[in-house]
Amino acid sequence: MSANEKSGWKSLPMAATVTEPGSSLKYKTGDWRAFRPVVDKEKCVNCLLCWIYCPDSAIMRQEKWVEINYDYCKGCGICAHECPKHAIKMEEEQK
């Protein structure tokens, strides 16, 4: 998410008040990431350890492997660390 997608002071609610519940999905944290996890689908055995460990619920379960939700993944690397098959590599973000 780039800076120009964010609202300016004129359209933001007063004093950072969040006016509706359950709004955290609207705050995408993917741009905090310095390293992005990349899944090697050949190596992934779909054990879901990464899905359990991910602190941001950014691992998306698929039929035979996992995928990453890059809108919210902050790039902490826990998934890559926990993967018993070394199927997840952390690659530096190029911006």
């Binding site: 964010k6 002071w9 933001l12 007063m14 004093a15 950072a16 008040t17 969040v18 006016t19 509706e20």
Partner: protein
């Protein structure tokens, strides 16, 4: 309307009572104590339907006020000196969360050395905390500005906390005749607070959300915008207040400025003494004037510029010291307001009255004469001087 004998503190308490505040959370401190003492009596006697929260410190007092204000309540508190210093952290939160709290501040020197008497060190220390600051000259003004303070604070375009500053002891403890409005008139003037957001289980909101590098700046910009509306709102409120009281208010009050060549600019009770001295000097044909700042934050830049247009020499009085700076805070603001005008008066700064040191008419007369001399010669003898200090 009724004239009642009241100290400045009592006048503020009476105004808060008539403003029908929902919550008061406060902690006693001299010379503010009488305000909350009187208010607690109103509560005990059943004269008000206000929730009175007894707390263990000023930090907690303002915290309770912030919570209540966010819940939609009209909130009042009062403090002084070290108490205000202890509130400092929460003052930024009250303004950042846009809580229209009104606080009476009995201005008193800060330790050390410990001192309980009047100067402006306390509020000047929290000058940049995002509170509207009003300085009053006497008990009448303390009453009038407290009532008006709620209406300015709660305006939809403002939503900022207001401090009503009254000089410790000189105003807080001095009894004067105060022209008090009828309860019903004040109720009609203020009406019930209409919060833009409030804590309501039926319509949940989050307040105090975390804002990092990507959002924090935008919310500070919103506060700047709110401050830019204050003067228009104040003028509107003052006009309406004149309709019910007959008394006129604005950002500044002037005396003799129509032809003044030398002037004094000050806040608070000193203005009364300065005006009396100016009256005597004008009777002798000396062209002197007084500018009193009622609204110190936001600083009334345009009014100050306009009123000083033809003045040749100006003495700015600061009842607080900004250690290490060239000037006191008020003088810095005046210099900053005038730096773009073509013909700025020669300005010098008078630091005075620290720790409640008395300022006598003869002291002010001395300053007026210095200013008249500067107006004549164009020379400032001393840029910053300390009036009444022993060498």
């Amino acid at each position: 309307m009724t004239v009642m004998g009241m100290t400045g503190d009592e006048a503020v308490a009476h105004a808060a009572k008539q403003s029908k505040v929902d919550i008061v959370a406060a902690y006693p401190i001299t010379p503010q104590t009488i305000i909350v003492e009187r208010f607690s009596k109103y509560v005990a006697d059943g004269e008000v339907h206000t929730g009175y929260v007894c707390v263990e410190s000023e930090h907690s007092a303002l915290s309770a006020c912030i919570g209540s204000s966010l819940a939609g309540a009209r909130v009042f508190t009062a403090t002084s000196s070290q108490g205000l210093a202890l509130m400092h952290e929460m003052m930024y939160i009250a303004s950042g969360l846009r809580c229209p709290i009104v606080m009476g501040v009995a201005n008193r020197a800060l330790s050390a050395p410990i001192n309980i008497h009047g100067d402006h060190s306390d509020m000047m220390g929290s000058r940049d905390s995002g509170w509207i600051q009003i300085y009053v000259e006497n008990a009448q003004e303390a009453y009038d500005w407290t009532v008006q303070g709620f209406k300015i604070a709660e305006d939809k375009d403002v939503q900022l906390p207001v401090s009503v500053n009254l000089d410790g002891f000189i105003i807080t403890h001095c009894m004067e005749g105060v022209d008090v409005l009828d309860d019903g008139v004040v109720s009609k003037f203020l009406q019930t607070r209409k919060p833009l957001f409030k804590l309501d289980p039926k319509k949940p909101v989050t307040v105090g959300a975390l804002c990092f590098t990507d959002y924090y700046f935008e919310f500070k910009r919103q506060q700047v915008e709110a401050f830019s509306h204050v003067q228009d709102v104040l003028d509107r409120v003052a006009k309406e207040f004149k309709g019910i009281s007959g008394r006129s208010y604005s950002a500044i009050e002037i005396y003799g400025m129509e032809d003044a060549e030398a002037a004094v600019l000050c806040l608070g009770s000193t203005a009364g003494t300065a005006r009396e001295v100016a009256r005597r000097l004008r009777a002798q044909g000396k062209k002197v004037g007084v500018v009193k700042i009622w609204l110190y934050r936001p600083f009334p830049v345009d009014e100050v510029k306009a009123v000083l247009k033809n003045v040749k020499a100006l003495a700015v009085f600061d009842r607080a010291i900004s250690l290490g700076a060239q000037h006191g805070a008020v003088c810095s603001d005046v210099v900053s307001a005038l730096h773009t005008v073509d013909k700025s008066p020669r300005i010098f700064n008078i630091i005075f009255g620290l720790g409640g040191r008395d300022v006598k008419p003869s002291d002010i007369e001395y300053v007026f004469n210095e200013a008249l001399e500067t107006a004549k010669t164009g020379v400032v003898k001393q840029e910053t001087s300390f009036l009444g200090v022993r060498e």
